[in-house]
């Protein structure tokens, strides 16, 4: 503990001691260390707050407590195996991570326009489902951090419905590794369309329930209105994108501006608000969920039979999987072909799976509009079977820089609301 004329550093130590020393000096400002393990900091985020009474005069952010070395680890795996790593970065938007990565790899391979139609529709479908799930968790954790447990339980309950569908499609609740370079890992299983139609019927009611709970709630309004204000110039200077930017009045969405995966063929609106505060961000997220439902519905209408993996044996893994007796997904046609049909195909399959495909040297940048903002993937290849360097521009990482701009001058309670409204996921921030 440091005590100077100017401030008291209370990061660690005994509170009694802090109070005693504080009373002995004339210092009025208190430096408090919040996190990295604190129930209100949205994961392992560390906030170093200088407090003058209840007012936060300086807010600094410490990150890196979840640095996983994913970008380096990927350099020792094949391009296809990369999807299993990127899916674990921002673990609330796994399918966006995978898609951004796969779009970059496909651009490096120069096969972007040869991805089958059905694979693109499925990608959009799972991404939009994922966007809703992510926004529900954003709402839920926001409520929990402000002390509203009902919001949290509702949010997680609604999210379970979406996870059930994603589990049916991909086999996993999280960390799917479903989107692969060239398409998706496997086709939609039977019965999933009916499940999604049920969801489409049920979900608007659930969204309405949540809006009924929060939209006009005086306590909620008091905690969110005019809190953590960030205007448009501030957003632009700090590189803020996604719901935060749209809540500051700019209708910027990569799905419209630079469409990928066929987003140009879908009818949807970009919700905008000019509030610039926590409440506006909440409203934008809520409206985005409704738009996502619209897109999901259009996806179902667009689903046409066809392959879900690129028709290129040098890249595409077998994607017509059936559940084998061992519980693993196998492709019976493909196995029959390589085991009894063609020796060359067997060798080829072995090489493709053990070494992976080669990606021509060069670099590419692909970006998707994830639930949090612009998620960019910069992939560099040296012509080998493994990535030379993959870097992710994670929206949460960029947005956390705005904490100081949002919090300084506000009360310490508003810091919680500000951080929660950014919806940072530390897995994505630290990678």
């Amino acid at each position: 503990m440091t005590v100077t004329e100017d401030y008291i550093d209370a990061s660690g130590g005994d509170w009694d001691e802090v109070i005693e020393r504080a009373q002995a000096t004339s210092a009025e400002r208190l430096v408090v260390n919040m996190g990295p393990q604190h129930p209100s900091t949205h994961g392992v985020l560390r906030l170093i707050l200088t407090l003058d009474g209840e007012t936060c005069t300086e807010a600094r952010v410490g990150i890196g407590y979840l640095h996983t070395g994913i970008e380096k680890n990927m350099e020792y795996r094949t391009w296809t195996q990369g999807t299993t790593f990127v899916t674990r970065m921002d673990y609330l938007t796994p399918l966006f991570n995978e898609t951004a990565y796969c779009l970059a790899v496909e651009r490096l391979l120069d096969v972007s326009d040869r991805i089958p139609e059905r694979a693109n529709v499925i990608r959009v479908l799972v991404m939009e489902l994922n966007r809703m799930a992510s926004h529900f968790v954003a709402m839920a954790t926001f409520g929990m951090e402000l002390g509203a447990t009902t919001v949290m339980t509702n949010g997680f309950r609604e999210r379970e419905m979406i996870l059930d569908i994603l589990e049916l499609i991909t086999g996993l609740r999280m960390n799917h590794a479903y989107v692969r370079p060239g398409g998706v890992a496997q086709d939609l299983p039977p019965g999933v369309v009916g499940k999604i139609r049920e969801l489409l019927k049920e979900m608007p009611k659930r969204i309405a329930t949540m809006r009924k709970l929060l939209d006009e709630n005086p306590v909620y309004l008091a905690r969110t209105r005019d809190v953590a204000y960030l205007n448009l110039p501030g957003c632009m200077a700090l590189g803020v994108t996604g719901p935060l930017l749209r809540a500051s009045g700019l209708a910027w969405d990569l799905r419209k501006a630079k469409p990928y995966c066929g987003y140009e063929d879908y009818e949807f609106d970009i919700p905008v608000s000019d509030g610039g505060d926590v409440y506006a961000r909440y409203r934008v997220r809520m409206a985005e969920m409704t738009e996502s439902l619209k897109i999901v519905e259009q996806c179902l209408d667009k689903l046409r039979p066809g392959p879900v993996m690129i028709e290129d044996a040098k890249i595409g893994w077998p994607a017509k999987l059936a559940l084998g007796p061992d519980g693993m997904g196998n492709s019976p046609d493909h196995i029959a072909h390589i085991m009894s049909g063609s020796m060359e195909a067997l060798i080829h399959h072995f090489k493709l799976v053990t070494e992976g495909f080669r990606v021509p040297a060069g670099q590419a940048y692909a970006a998707v509009e994830s639930a949090k903002g612009e998620l960019g993937c910069h992939a560099v290849s040296d012509g080998g079977t493994r990535p030379y360097r993959v870097h992710f521009r994670d929206p949460s990482f960029t947005h956390l820089q705005a904490v100081a701009a949002m919090c300084e001058g506000g009360t310490v309670a508003d810091v919680i609301a500000a951080v929660a409204s950014i919806d940072p996921v530390m897995g994505g921030v630290d990678r």
Partner: protein
Amino acid sequence: MSTENEANHNGDGAEAPENLPDRRGSERLAAPVVRTGMFGTTTTGDTSGYGGLRVRGSAPAASSRPFTDPEDPRTADFDRVADDLEAALGEGAGAVERIVVDRGEITFHVRRDALVEVARALRDDPALRYELCTGVSGVHFPDDTDRELHAVYHFRSITHNSQIRVETTCPDADPHVPSIVSVYPTNDWHERETWDFFGIVFDGHPGLTRIQMPDDWHGHPQRKDYPLGGIPVEYRGATVPPPDERRSYK
């Protein structure tokens, strides 16, 4: 759904000869070939007899005008951007060493001492207006002598809905690149991260400290000369070495 699925199962004729796994995708191989043979084997390791793989040429070192390919809509505004940047830089246009157009993306290779100038022109010139910098990504090329460390920036213009890449290099012996935080404040953490992982010193950064690794960490872990740092994993008496020490498929 089930009928749709069945149709899909039988629909695309996996038995047709041109769709057999070892035939499909042959049209992609029409591109220039730099090497043939089995997946990267340089010695006589090809015991399979299957030498069909051809490796296409590497990325072009530099492109020449016109940058806009009428066949490729992704390149539509490249000529305009190149002209506007040249006009905006005026006499300093020599700062752009070369321009590469590859896979529908344009890259301006910029001398490091002119980086801030270029960034300022990109942001402020009304014809360019790249409002958003999506961070810096470091890449380490140990074999690229005197240009070992690359800093790659991506800029996005919301006004013109355009996207470009600016790349600058610095030698490992003198790893200094000017910081563009004064122009794009959003690059604050991105530059700290690149310093942390690659050891590129961004001159003029307001507080260049480690961001992801602990403050007392030694080395810059994402450089190519830094080991992955895994440990051997023992499972029931057998040991598997960490990924970077395993036998590698080249």
